[in-house]
Symmetry: C2
Subunit: 489 residues, 2 copies
Amino acid sequence: MSKAITQKSDDHSKWYTDVITKAQLADYGPVKGTMVIKPYGFAIWELVKDEFDKQFKATGHQNAYFPLFIPKSFLAKEADHVEGFAKECAIVTHSRLMSDEDNSIKVDPSSKLEEEIIVRPTSETVIWHMYKKWINSYRDLPILINQWANVVRWEMRTRLFLRTSEFLWQEGHTAHSTEAEAREETLKILDIYESVSKNHLAIPVLTGKKSESEKFAGAVDTYCIEAMMGDKRALQAGTSHYLGQNFAKAFDVKFQTDSNTEEYVYASSWGVSTRLIGAIIMVHGDDNGLRLPPSIAPTQVVVVPFFRNDEEINKIRQYINPYLKELESKGIRILFDDREKISPGFKFNEWELKGVPIRIEIGAKEIESNELTIFRRDINQKEKTPINTLTSYIQDMLDQIQQNLLKQADEFRKENTFIVESYEEFKKVINEGGFVRCGWDGTEITEKQIKDETKATIRCIPFDENPENKKCIFSEKDALHEAIFAKAY
Amino acid sequence: MSKAITQKSDDHSKWYTDVITKAQLADYGPVKGTMVIKPYGFAIWELVKDEFDKQFKATGHQNAYFPLFIPKSFLAKEADHVEGFAKECAIVTHSRLMSDEDNSIKVDPSSKLEEEIIVRPTSETVIWHMYKKWINSYRDLPILINQWANVVRWEMRTRLFLRTSEFLWQEGHTAHSTEAEAREETLKILDIYESVSKNHLAIPVLTGKKSESEKFAGAVDTYCIEAMMGDKRALQAGTSHYLGQNFAKAFDVKFQTDSNTEEYVYASSWGVSTRLIGAIIMVHGDDNGLRLPPSIAPTQVVVVPFFRNDEEINKIRQYINPYLKELESKGIRILFDDREKISPGFKFNEWELKGVPIRIEIGAKEIESNELTIFRRDINQKEKTPINTLTSYIQDMLDQIQQNLLKQADEFRKENTFIVESYEEFKKVINEGGFVRCGWDGTEITEKQIKDETKATIRCIPFDENPENKKCIFSEKDALHEAIFAKAY
């Protein structure tokens, strides 16, 4: 494995692809725009997924599974939904193959379906069809369901993890008897998204509301977490929607209230996806490859032994195994890389590329001195430590790395977020890279003109906005909102 | 919730559907043949899945994810595969919807795909396409990959969990440098399937090899685990295939050996699915509903309090909470059912339907006597136990229930498995229900005639077969094998 990856500052996009390829995270599949998540990439996803899953369950949510296939007619039921969202999709029209005269295979025309089937781009419609069967009375509410699933959106311009035709995600779909409860749920999930991003992915995120033009088609309000990537562009890392009664009305889902009246059900939906892997790469990666926060690193500590023969490797094993066992008993994920005929230097490069937070180097010298050589990936520095305090040393260092990656990302974002007063300044920041915080008159026309001129979009209207006495950066009218603008993935 | 479900002995098929409906395990989706797995059913699946996943990982396997979509041409590459297997499938032909003049939506004809896409019925083809890119040398082997995924097979006659158009499963796909290693892998996985079935699902299974006509299209040898359901029919509960070099040849996957020659790669593939939930229902269920083995019961112990007001429920909580906390600290999954306005009797029925292994009943009487009333679902009996030894009592009882369900299933299977000497006897057993073990001449024509006349198929050729001096039950020629025959799902 060659270490040579494109330098991040030279070509961010090529650097990103290089990291994914060389760290063996993912690959393109044979059908255009599809993605293969390789074992190392998938192991990261499993750790991310487990953390979200734990927090969803701790807040009373249950997992379930709804079908991949949706009748075409369902998509038309919520008018905004199909108009704004669900047009580019995979459509199933036939159900049988047959052998041709020349022994190739073709689609059997007699298997044409009466109604075409859509491969789910998201599951609101099929889920609200089921909720109609399940909900009669306030006693059936709330329903707090999540599913982990694959979804498909026909994408022309694809990029691994960020935009592919098929991707993996979780989608929560909840049903409530009051607006207040549904709104509370929407924001409770946004809190979970923010805290997992921050505390496990080490990614600081902005939270706020989407503008009308950026919200989910079918939602009343869309909230989001937005992160800054290493090239200073924004990535929408998760969304939580208050759906009001839109889907309940589209699918006629009413409930009997405790005062014996009938009302439409209130709803939320929310999701994060494998796109988060893209965010992890772009927030933490450096010129040597990935840097993984320990919390979601499949291997937290790799041990690379220096040895020339069986005797030497056995001596190293005997010496270090008790310490590794103790680390493992504390839940630390360790890999002992005893591959033969591969040089330590090659292994160093490989594990740096793969972003393993800590590397322990050990050979005859270390055994003699009872001191190990430790490489810390977040700062790319080596130090020595006595072996007899290894456990607490490693535990502390993992904590420090976790904190430091968050701190670095936070500082980077702060350095590259600008409060601007003029449209000239605005354009300069957007052009050179960064987030802009400024007044906005709240009109779609302003939003569109800014987008057309600069490619910047409103990433969110932050919860802590204060538009008072501010002017719109574009129209110079009184600001209705403060907004965060940036170029986005 | 009404307890009245169809009696198992009256109508096994209706009983099965009743259990699924009333225990809220699953539901049909809007597209014919699709399934919704409801939270309670999915919680069981998660526990089953976790156990398999743990054992796959402990034996060196890694999870990954491959695309849902397969180019049509791939299916034709392995000739047996498409002929015997992959014809009834979902075919994607278009990628865009459009609004009609009358505001309905239709498929945009201009979005017709150049090559049709198949929704994966299984992933051998797409995975071996990727393996061609990943495998060059013996150093790249073995590859031990598993994926948890949804797959689609167009089914006309569907039944929840047993046969639906879409289902969830795991599929392992391994690549090896020698036949011996690939064969060893195939049987290692069969061992895992057998042991999880037995030790966690409490389902005893027969293990053996499939006949040529029953094996997976594309395999050299198919091995299986076969279980007896409560109606004495067989269910194929998992399969492990030795694929030889068939897919490697179809996708031209060669590797450089350590002696610098080139050879095609050897392979295995293997899978278990949500069908196992069907097996759990049919092996353990009784006239009152589900009976769940503790190992895979989402709730292992339900506590049903007798109370009329806040004061009473608070007193019960205060009394029992320390004991419940201790149970939870031992990893026991407990639910305290304090729902108001629902009678204890109603709750009893509900949790019996849902198969919760142990119910604790507690009211003023129990507090006074310091003795709890315990209901044991596997034998439907109540007993009393002093509260101060609750933890060890519950732990022991969970173990006993786990063992007893396996024992009951094992005895039932033994009672209904017959070694027969004549075809008359054979037909009598098959007609009345049960497994037959007998000699078979090894020909497909005999197998087919038996199937046509009795609907019984060869479930497996057991590993412990001893065909010596045996005659074929049908042709009366010398037996080539002993085989297990039964009607199957």
